[in-house]
Every structure is written in structure tokens, then in C-alpha cells.
Symmetry: C2
Subunit: 449 residues, 2 copies
Amino acid sequence: MADEVLARDLLHDARTLIAEREWAKVVVLVASLHPADLIDLVLSLDEDDRRALLDQLPTDIVAQLFEFVDDDELRNLIRSVGIEDLPAVLEEVEDDVAADVIQQLEPAEAIETLAALDRADEVAELMQYGMESAGGIMRRGFVALNEGITVGQAIDYLRVLRPPSEKAYYLYVVDDDARLRGIISIRDLLVSSPRTLLSEITDHEVHAVTTETDQEEAARVLQRYNLLAVPVVDAEGRLEGVTTADDLIDVMQEEATEDMYRLAGIHEEETILSPVRQSLRRRIPWLILNLMTAFTVAAIITPFENTIERAALLAVFMPIIAGHSGNTGTQVATLVVRGLALNQVEGRDFRLIIRKEIAFGLVHGLLAGLLAAGLALVISGNGWLALVVLTALLLNVLVAGLVGSAVPLLLRRLGADPAVSSIWLTTFTDMFGFLLLLGLGTLLIDRLS
Amino acid sequence: MADEVLARDLLHDARTLIAEREWAKVVVLVASLHPADLIDLVLSLDEDDRRALLDQLPTDIVAQLFEFVDDDELRNLIRSVGIEDLPAVLEEVEDDVAADVIQQLEPAEAIETLAALDRADEVAELMQYGMESAGGIMRRGFVALNEGITVGQAIDYLRVLRPPSEKAYYLYVVDDDARLRGIISIRDLLVSSPRTLLSEITDHEVHAVTTETDQEEAARVLQRYNLLAVPVVDAEGRLEGVTTADDLIDVMQEEATEDMYRLAGIHEEETILSPVRQSLRRRIPWLILNLMTAFTVAAIITPFENTIERAALLAVFMPIIAGHSGNTGTQVATLVVRGLALNQVEGRDFRLIIRKEIAFGLVHGLLAGLLAAGLALVISGNGWLALVVLTALLLNVLVAGLVGSAVPLLLRRLGADPAVSSIWLTTFTDMFGFLLLLGLGTLLIDRLS
């Protein structure tokens, strides 16, 4: 807590000094901030102040900002640094970060920036992997040791190498063809006799992924086996890089956000603090589409205008049947989407889940239908209305559960994202529910009015 | 991929051998499985086979299962191991895992099991912290070095100590009162001269949390600063334990699941594969409550029966006004809930967000209202109906955005969970929307019919 107050005071001082263009003082003050805090300060400034501050900061501090910036703010940071200063900054970041930055640029600028780098080859190599693949987020700063050397030789090698990455928690053991054989922890190295061969203390049970593996799968491997890093190999099993927990945690959080947003029909780059113009641009198209589906639902009702005129009480039960089934379907879809994301569910559980949702839907539909039918009896004293309400709610609830579980599972089987927007589910349950209620009402209209 | 096929074959063989009670072969086969895979096999067996298998497995393998079991399966595992065998197993797990297990037991069994442990004191100490606090998930297996010793002394100490935890990636530096002073990586130790004092190579910028800190906050610190572990200190700053990335990743995932489930009104322990009886018990109470709110919404409509009889077209626009506003509110609530979880948003952004949602709601409401009014004109040719639809949709969309953003923010300010269920939001927007549409319709009924 004391830390947080201190940090807030520091930030306040920094803002004042930036406004007064007291650069010498600003740089001293800012040097004591963690890059994760500094990036927040930088992004909170207006465009002019931000550019001015970045101009004043040493290149290595600017470079660190690129390691801590969120994906959605990366473009803003690049713009403020300026394309002409970018190569100097990128020389100081890790290869995978440089590749991410260059992939955000216009093609012409990307080629120019890449060419200006000393490590153009290494960075270009990383750029060949899909942004969402393990290859796209892996780091090169791993340490590989040949299984044929001794512990003593390995320690001497590490002393000379001084591995530059803070991320070298695992040491990887490879054979003469650079194929991954296993891992050793630095701790094991430290506590073993110097004459021991690495092959004797190598842990061969290593969970690797390939460069083509989806980054989410790499995150799942990390979480499943309680690891801090997952090595990445090529098709021949040669060690190409390492994905680390800090990057994979971001993948997991993005994935969870994406699923939540997709269920609610929100653009993945949207945040509640996005400027209102941006939000309008991102949310309005979806909302208008949503409105159009509501129009379709309304179109289902229009032909029943006469039925509603003769039995207006049916309108009272419309929101009950639509709303309750919509919620039922959304619940089931959320359970399936999350279950798939956490690997609790697989495509082959399809039959099991459908069977379960039929049983669940029958019990739940009957219970809810009887309650709603009771309400209909109390309001109208008309047993036929109660029967219509019972039948419509029972069937619609049952269908909502089936559609809500089947659609995400089918999407996954087709290789698509299972996080179906609940808007399509509720559109469907609305339409089906109104058709049932008003259709049955029309058939029995002489008993209802 | 080849690994996965192999693992599946292994599991199939294991199941066959278990069914045949070929224990000697089962134990050999199972010993080659990672505990994360073995736990899946164990949990997939029926109660009898599970008990029989656990009886045959060596205690240290059973103990490892407790490190990899999910929270919601922990109770099943405890039951299958059996209360009488539990103390022997708990002797082999880490203190924090033992504390978690004992906290799942009935009070009498908990006391008995705790008393049977050699390390009863250490485990009991951990049990004093809230299950959701950093103290509740921290591990004791950290290595603390006094800042006054040299690198050579530290290495000798580590060789003798052979730190038992695979989690000892950071070495913590403390002063004479055991207060946390900073961290050193084993790598730094390895590459520094043996005569260097630890205080000279200590990184003092360390992000610690206290034992009372919420576990989610610890996870946020880990993610924000790209760490692999976050140290936990007591009120005096003394190092008490360490929370590691693997545990904090689980916290983040549980938190994301909880938010998604709460938005959809799902019990937090529910999964799509839960047995149907369990699902009925967990989902039905909420669904019936949901149905009751739908009844309340219906109660809003009942007094307008005459209005609907005279202008049945109003019923066509009911689902448009209710559904569209409900989706708008749910979107905003999802954005705020996720923003709060990811620390993008804080309570003090309240005014900013409300101002934005007013601007957004006016533009969006006017646009959606005009489109819906256009539809009303096309269907009915009645300008008054169009005006009623425009006004009701504009106002209801605006209010949905304000309620959807304000409620989670207010809940957070009150210290409650901001993940308000969208059911309450849609109940509110349904009721408000029907009141607007049918109320205005009643006022203008002579123009509409």
C-alpha cells in the first residue's frame, strides 16, 4: 500500500515536470520507475507530451517499454517513438519483440526498418511464423547445452556466456544435431559433482511444442504440467526457442477476454475506456446487426397480429418464454465454451453432452413450464392458455439447451472458434419460442378468447 | 501429436489392465505417466476401480496427484484415498497442499488428520490464512539468504541445502530480522565472483505482496511485472512464503471462469460434464429465480392488456426494445467486469465511463431508434407508432448503457464482486423498456388504434 501511494506521488510529480518541460528532472525521476509503471505514464500523456518524453529518454529505457506494452497499445507506442528512431530502439529489444513491432508496420516501412537492423536475419526468421503460433511468441534467449559435456564444463560455459536473458530458468540439453533431449535446472547443475555428465542428470520428460503449434495449446501445456516455460522445436525436433510463462499468461488472459467478448458480441480490441468514437466504430456495426436480428424476430410476430388482438394475454407470456430460454441457452453455451478453452471438454464428448442436456432440459422445462402454466391459470383462469404456455416453454427450453451446447461443439469440430455469440442463440430461441407460443395460440384461438 | 497418440494408447492399456486387476503391470505402466496425465486417468475411473488403483500405487505417486488435481476434483480424490490413508500421503506433499486438503475435511476429521502429521505446526500456520489470500496459496519451499554473506558462501550453502522445491528459481535476500531486501537469480550467483557480497548483487526492486493480499492481486502483480513468482511478506516485511506462476495461473483462470459464469448466472463449480443430477441441483435454483424475474416482467405487461388489444402492433416491438437494450447493457457490463479484472479500469474512472456511455448511448439510441421507427412506419404507416418506438428505444438503450456500466463499478466500490449477473440487467431493461413502450402507447392509444 505504501508503495502504491509512493508510486502515485511519483507519477503526479512526473506529470507536473513533463508539463513544465523540466527534462533533466523528469529523466532522473522516471529512471526509478519499473517499465511496467513507466509505460502506463507514457500512455496516459497526450500525443505531444508523449513524443517529447520519449525523445528525452535513453534508448535502452524506451526499448524496455516495448517489452511491457500491451498488444493493443503497441501501435500507439510505435507512432510516438517515430519510424526514424525505431531501428535504434529495436536493436535493444529481444528478437521476438522486434518481430512483433515490425509486423505492425506498413509493408514499405517494415522492409526499411528490418533492413536497418544488425540482426535482420534472426528477426526475419521469427516473422515467418504465424502471430498466433508458438513460433510467433517464442524467445531465442535460451541456453542449450550438449548432453555429452560435464557439469563442470557447463558451469564454465555459463560463466563465459553470461546468458543475457532473465528468462534462462531452464537449461535445455540437446544432442549433436541440436535435437532437444531434455532439461536441467540450474539448481541441479549447482548441486551435482563437476564430473557428472549432463546426460546423467537430464530430465528427459520434457513437454515441448512445435513452432506451428497454436499459442493457446502451448499455454495449455504450461498450465497442465505446472511449467514456467515450454520449449519450441521444429519438425525434426531441433530446439528453436522457448515460450515463457509471462508471455503465455498474456495468451491465456487474451483468450479468456476474447471468449467473454465474443459471447457478448464485442470487438476484441475494445475496452471500456476506449475513446467514444472508437467504441462507436467498433460496437455500432454489431449492435445494428443485432437490431436487424431483432427485426427478424419481430417479423415472426407480425403475422400473428390478429391472434394477439383476440388473446392479448399471450403477449404477457412472450418475454417469459423468450427470455427464459435465451438465458438457458446462453448458460449452456458459456459452459461449453469455457470447458473447451480449459480442455475439460473435447469434441468427442458431443454425445455425452447432448444426452445430458436432453435429460436436463426435460426436467427443467417441465418444472418451468408448470410454474408458468400456473401463472397463466391464476391470471386468466383459462386451462387452454396454461397448456399452450406449458408446451411452448417446455419445448423451447429443451431446444435452447440442445442448440446452446451443440453449436459451440460443432464449431470446434469444424476448426472454428467455438465462442458463438449469444446473440445468435437468443435470436433463435426468441423466434422458435414465439412461433411455438403464437402458433399454438392461433390453433387454439377459439378456446383462448 | 505422436506423444498424444502414445499417451492415449497407454491410457487404454491401463484401463484394460485395471479392469483385469493386473496390478503389477498397472503400476509399472502408470509409473511412466506424468502426474497431470495420471490424475485424469484416476478421475475417469469408477469409484471401485479408483479406490483399488489408489490402494496399489506407492504413497509418493498418490501424493503427486494432489499437486495436480483441480480444486473442484479435490474432494473426490480425498474420498477415494480414504481418511485413514490420508496422513501418510500428506507427509509427502508441500505444506500449502496439505493445508488445502485438510481444509476440505469435516472439522473432526481435519483435527485428527492434522494431529497425525509430523509437520502439524507448519501446516496449521498456513491454515490461518484465508483460502483466497496470498497466504493461503503461498509455498514455504523458498530459499532465503542473508545479505551479509558472500556469493561463495551462498553457493556452498545451496550445495548443502539442496533446496527441495523445484520452485526455487529466485533466491530471496533477507536482512538479520528476516525482512525481505531483494532477490538474486541463481544465474547471477553463478556468474559473479565468489567473494562478492550478496548485498552488492541484490536486485532491490522486488514486488512483494502481504499474506493478507487477495490472491487475484498477487496474480496481477505477477502478470504486470512479468514475474515467475511473487514473494509474500507479513505486516513487518518478513518473508513468509512465495506464490509461484503455476499457482497464480490457476488463480487467473479460475477468476476468468468465475466472471464468465457469474455474468451468465452459473454456479462456479459447474462444468458442462457435471453429472445431470448435480447440474440440476446447481442450475435449477438460479433458473427458477430467473423465471420469477421473468414473471415480474410479465406483471409489468398485464395492466396494459387493453392497450395491446387495441394496438397489437406494440407487441411486435416489445422484443426489439427489450432484447436490444438487454444486449447493449450486457456488452457494457462485460467490458467493465473484464476491465476491472485486468486492472485496466479502476473505481475512479467512474465519471469518465458514465460520460462516455451517455455520449455513446445518445448516438447509438438515436440510430437504433430511427431504424426501428422506420420499420414501424413501413409496417403500420402510423407516424405516432414510429414516435413511440423511437422514444422508447432511445431512452431504454441509454439507460441500459448507464446501468450496465454503473452497477459493476458501484459493486467494486462497495468491495463486492463486480461481475453482476446479466439476468438482473436484462430484467431491469425489459421492465423499463416495456413500461416506456406500453406506457407511451397507452397515452397515445387513440392515435395508434
